[in-house]
Symmetry: C2
Subunit: 347 residues, 2 copies
DNA sequence: CGTTGCGATGTTAGCGCTAACATCGTTTTA
DNA sequence: TAAAACGATGTTAGCGCTAACATCGCAACG
């Protein structure tokens, strides 16, 4: 007996049905089975039926990890946001998800908690998953992250704000939104206007809105006092913001809040305190969340098209993925989704 | 020249730095480099430093797809929820995410839109990614989905509600929560109570709360009229719900809403209509969202510990993953996170 | 002082799938 | 009618990594 030393190395094979087994059951080769599932039009109708029947009968579940490795395409879309506590990001994610999932892409969601170092780590992980594209909130990243993204050859979409980005960009002008609301408050005749921001050191889009606001006030020869809260926007924080604005500037006649959560929190709190809005104090927000339009008085705010932003961003990415265009060649890389001043009765 | 026919078959290799290149640069074998990254304690200190230096220098990003295929472990956690529009699920996801990400797991999020067929497709996809565990909302799945999950050998966690599940379970008793609020309304003296539900055909947890509610009312000899809305809970829908309740049952003295979004929408709408809450009409909700505690009058509701539910679910799954226990052997498979009646001034 | 044990590293063989090329019979084209 | 084109399927060779086993040098031990 010539010892045909059969290798006995054992792997704890996952015991799952493989494509090869499906192929055998259908009497074809593995690649034909693969084609029947991935590019059905390239397989003869009867053969395909035989294969699909075997898939069904054996309960085959494709191993997507193996498929991705072999093709170096994963159909993952990395989505990085700074927070899940803010409804704004949820709505953008929703827009992204609906559009991407309809095309068979799966979202990989990451949350940075407004930490750029964390963003870098997430990007590294996501690149490791051979994502088809990456969507991230904002135009600011740390150097390491920029380095990775610049040399990456897949679409990178930066959403929420507008400006010169790495690749694709869909967003709105936060600076302009801040200016817009400040103009509105001045037009209404308010002259002692306090801005209340939350975590503006980390949320620089909020800081941009404030700087738009400040510039308008200063151009009108007015001071632009700021109350900074050390926690993220919430109804609770809004109440605190109002109290602090009133305490620090007793003469205040209008408060411009960084977002609608704060503003509505303040509005409800004002009512509890017996303050009339807008007679005693005017209140303005940013975002245009539904909630602001259901309170009485309705909140004056700046409406941002959030789900649209997600949908449009996804569409732009898909367009690039389909055409497989080079980053540099692609036309129309920047999209302004704009904003709308929504005047309620709170100002 | 013996033509040593070198195979010329070309793959469009991703041009990425591979572990092998790192290993060469550090003068070790690939497996040692792999160990330096994954199980650093098994590599000599100086060797490890040399490898890490090469990783840094070359800008190596590990290919997680390849790693997962080789090890058949992906460190993915599949999370399936029926909706992103509802803050409840966002908070559960948040709790899950914080706990899992701290342990180096990545969440794969899927949204079924309350469609069990869609859930089955998501489960198939996620199993194809060799997820380490799967977390899904609810105990009801279609047959195909149950089949897949039953024969899967990794932890399955069913959250939100309580009952006999496939494997692990963390949740609360929705039937009991419905009973609890109904009792409260009876105690308060209301006798003409309408229940307003949203999409109860699809959201069967809502249906369970209603059936608890109905049973209590019927036991007290009262009818339990139901107003069903054909859209998901929102402030808008709550306003509609109130209008319909009043139109269909002019004698109504209390409305038990399916969730806080509806209830708050109704409360704000009542105020716009000039109805006093609770004098003209009492309003109750379910969930204990912060919003309900910021309106005046504060909303009477049932508080569910949502982030805790996510956190606890993640902890239970991690415990199983760490100990690698068999499904059948694991102790304490079911956890009741309970609920609390939160009495505001709206009832 | 041979043997055992152990820590550090290497060799080999896949994980399950698909890109690239090959083959073959049939159809279209010049 | 030979050549080119095409549609359907197969063969081969990886994708980049890690499990399992192998090796080697050195310390511990009876």
């Amino acid at each position: 007996m010539s010892s045909r030393k059969e290798p006995t190395r054992q792997r704890r094979g996952s015991e799952q049905i493989t494509l090869k087994q499906v192929a055998e059951a259908a009497g074809v080769s593995a690649i034909t089975a693969s084609r029947a599932l991935n590019t059905p039009e390239r397989v003869n109708d009867t053969t395909r039926e035989r294969i699909l029947e075997a898939v069904e009968r054996l309960g085959y579940v494709p191993n997507l990890v193996a498929g991705s490795l072999a093709s170096s395409r994963s159909r993952f879309i990395a989505v990085i946001v700074p927070s899940l506590a803010n409804a704004v990001f949820i709505e953008v994610i929703h827009g992204l998800q609906e559009t991407f999932e309809a095309q068979g892409y799966q979202i990989l969601l990451g949350n940075t908690d407004y930490d750029l170092q964390r963003e870098y780590q997430l990007v590294r992980t996501f690149l490791g998953w051979s994502c088809s594209a990456l969507v991230t909130a904002g135009l600011r990243h740390n150097e390491a992250c920029l380095g990775l993204l610049r040399q990456w050859d897949k679409p990178v979409m930066e959403v929420m704000e507008l400006g010169e980005g790495l690749d694709l960009n869909v967003g709105l002008d936060h600076y302009g939104a801040g200016r817009c609301m400040a103009h509105h408050l001045l037009e209404r005749g308010y002259r002692s206007i306090v801005y209340v921001g939350a975590c503006m050191d980390r949320d620089y889009r909020a800081a941009m809105r404030f700087s738009g606001h400040r510039e308008v006030l200063e151009a009108a020869g007015l001071p632009a006092p700021l109350v900074e809260l050390q926690r993220l926007g919430s109804l609770e924080a809004g109440a605190e913001g109002l109290d602090r604005a009133l305490a620090e500037r007793p003469e205040v006649d209008a408060v411009h809040f960084d977002n609608d959560d704060l503003a509505v929190g303040a509005l409800l709190h004002a009512q509890r305190r017996g303050l009339r809005v807008p007679e005693d104090i005017a209140i303005a927000g940013f975002n245009g969340l539904p909630l602001g339009q259901h309170v009485t008085p309705r909140l004056t705010t700046v409406l941002s098209p959030r789900e649209t932003m997600g949908r449009l961003a996804a569409e732009q990415v898909l367009k690039r993925l389909e055409n497989d265009l080079d980053r540099a060649l692609a036309p129309q890389r920047q999209h302004d989704v704009g904003f709308t001043l929504l005047v309620g009765e709170s100002t």
